[in-house]
């Protein structure tokens, strides 16, 4: 027996290996990862770790002893470059045979496609090596330009600004975090970053980066302005790694397409995490790509069950968090497609939540410094019940008292 090969030793891969063992699987498990580092958590890379408040050791998912005890053969620093039925081959020529295959290969950062993008001082933030480089350069930097107003860019902007740098955030859309939150929340973040001294430019693209002696010096924008920069962080999205899946002829569409059981178009091959697109976990409509720890873990558990011959559909409520300064954003559900929203609390006081409705039903919440509202909505989405939009407007009453039980 060659057992299970999991390609990608990160959030999703570790969870899958652990879930297989927890469920009593005794077959061999090989977990192969291209990075040389023991598997680590990514979220702190743009938060505490970047700020120098967390060390390397605190990022590790598991002790080394864990892998040995659980008989998980952890192969690090080896990139799988070829996949054929039953056999994987790595960059260095190592052969890894398998009976069952799981792809948890994640995504790579989208590169800036403008002149000057290869200048020194232009950074991306996806893995530990990126974070180490960026952290190393941040100390001496004076003018930091963040290209892309999504979560990673804004988190890094908050760290840089807190360290006293001049910070400019450039976002091509007309609002921040456009893909994930509604306009009220975008507007809140714009004001919050500006209040703390960052310059936020919306609706402008980057046309070129210019430099001297190979080092970036300025960012040129589509409105003709030029922003000085000695450090540029591009947070302009990710591209799921689908090359290996394509070698196997698996169906891909902006990610490896999986069903609610984490099965690819080849039913013996499962995939999970950022490399996948899957039916909406609640409505089953369309294909969505969720870039979150929760999804990486949730899908990995479902995939492990599938590998063991059980069918446990993925239906968990998606959730996400983002820390910027002292602002703790917590999201539950997916707000896409909402036709009504209710604002509770006061964005100016930096403590509020937004409940999203579709056809009168609650579908999601964005909560800033309002954990109780976040949790209440998450619980309703998880276990049923309703909170009517009319009632939710009454901010004097704690949300949990407004929940009507499932019909």
């Amino acid at each position: 027996m060659s057992g299970t090969l999991i390609v990608g030793a990160s959030q999703s891969g570790i969870q899958m290996a652990a879930s297989l063992r927890e469920a009593g699987d005794e077959e061999p498990i090989t977990l192969v990862g291209a990075e040389p580092h023991p598997p680590y958590q990514r979220p702190p890379l743009s938060k505490a770790f970047l700020a120098g408040k967390a060390d390397l050791a605190s990022l590790a998912f598991r002790t080394e002893a864990f892998y040995a005890e659980q008989k998980i053969d952890l192969v690090l620093g080896e990139q799988v470059v070829r996949l054929a039925p039953g056999l994987a081959t790595t960059h260095s020529g190592r052969s890894l045979p398998f009976d069952r295959l799981a792809l948890t290969v994640g995504a790579r950062p989208r590169r800036l496609g403008v002149p000057g993008a290869d200048l020194d001082g232009v950074h991306y933030l996806r893995d530990l090596d990126d974070a180490l480089r960026l952290r190393g350069r941040l100390g001496a930097a004076r003018h930091v330009v963040v290209v892309g107003g999504g979560f990673i860019g804004l988190e890094a902007a908050a760290v840089a600004r807190s360290a006293g740098k001049s910070v400019t955030v450039v976002e091509a859309a007309d609002r921040l975090i456009p893909r994930s939150v509604a306009p009220v929340v975008s507007e809140f973040y714009r004001r919050a970053h500006q209040r703390r001294g960052s310059d936020v430019r919306l609706g402008v693209g980057v046309t070129a980066l210019t430099g001297e002696h190979g080092q970036v010096r300025a960012v040129e924008l589509s409105d003709g302005t030029r922003v000085p920069a000695d450090l540029v962080l591009a947070g302009v999205g990710i591209v799921p790694r689908t090359e290996l899946a394509e070698q196997l002829g698996l169906h891909c569409a902006g990610g490896i397409v999986v069903d609610e059981f984490a099965r690819t178009s080849e039913p013996d091959v499962v995939a999970a995490g950022d490399c996948t697109v899957a039916p909406h976990p609640r409505t089953r409509d369309g294909l969505v790509r969720l870039e979150s720890v929760q999804n990486a873990i949730g899908q990995a558990k479902v995939a492990a069950a599938t590998l063991l011959g059980r069918r446990e559909p993925y239906s968990a409520v998606p959730w996400f968090w983002s820390d910027q300064y002292d602002l703790k954003l917590q999201i539950a559900g997916l707000s896409g497609g909402h036709d009504e929203h209710v604002l509770r609390g006061d964005p100016e006081a930096e403590k509020f939540s937004v409940l999203y409705y579709r056809g009168g039903s609650l579908i999601a919440v964005d909560a800033v410094n309002s954990t109780a509202d976040y949790l209440t909505v998450r619980k309703v989405l998880d276990r049923g019940g309703e909170i009517s939009p009319e009632q939710a407007r009454d901010n004097e009453v704690p949300l949990k008292r407004l929940v009507s039980p499932p019909a």
Partner: protein, 107 residues
């Protein structure tokens, strides 16, 4: 190295060497103690690191803050005396021997 004792529902014990400064949750996940899921990695967002601190240790670990209160109230399956989030208890030499019970399920 302060030790932490994790007691499973079936009474079995797992003793782990923690590093001072790490949380009760982190020590558990690093060593793969079953029953501590810690989906959010210590961000006080998930409550899947819920533990019951034994009464004798309660005075030493202190009180939950407001966010933790909300999580314990709304998110854990059965809140009891001694309910805490493992990610919000930082280990110190003083806490050596801290004993916590792991709930039968995390939400």
């Amino acid at each position: 190295m302060p030790k932490i004792v994790y007691v499973a529902t079936d009474g079995s014990q797992r003793v782990v060497d923690a590093v001072a400064g790490e949380s009760v949750m982190m020590a558990a996940t690093r060593h793969g103690v079953p029953g501590i899921v810690a989906e959010c990695g210590g961000n006080a967002s998930c409550a899947t690191c819920h533990v019951y601190v034994r009464p004798e240790s309660l005075p030493l670990v202190g009180e939950p803050n407001d966010t933790e209160e909300d999580l314990l109230d709304l998110a854990v399956t059965e809140r009891r005396e001694g309910s805490r989030l493992g990610c919000q208890i930082e280990m110190t030499e003083e806490l050596d021997g801290l004993t916590v019970d792991i709930p039968p399920v995390q939400p």
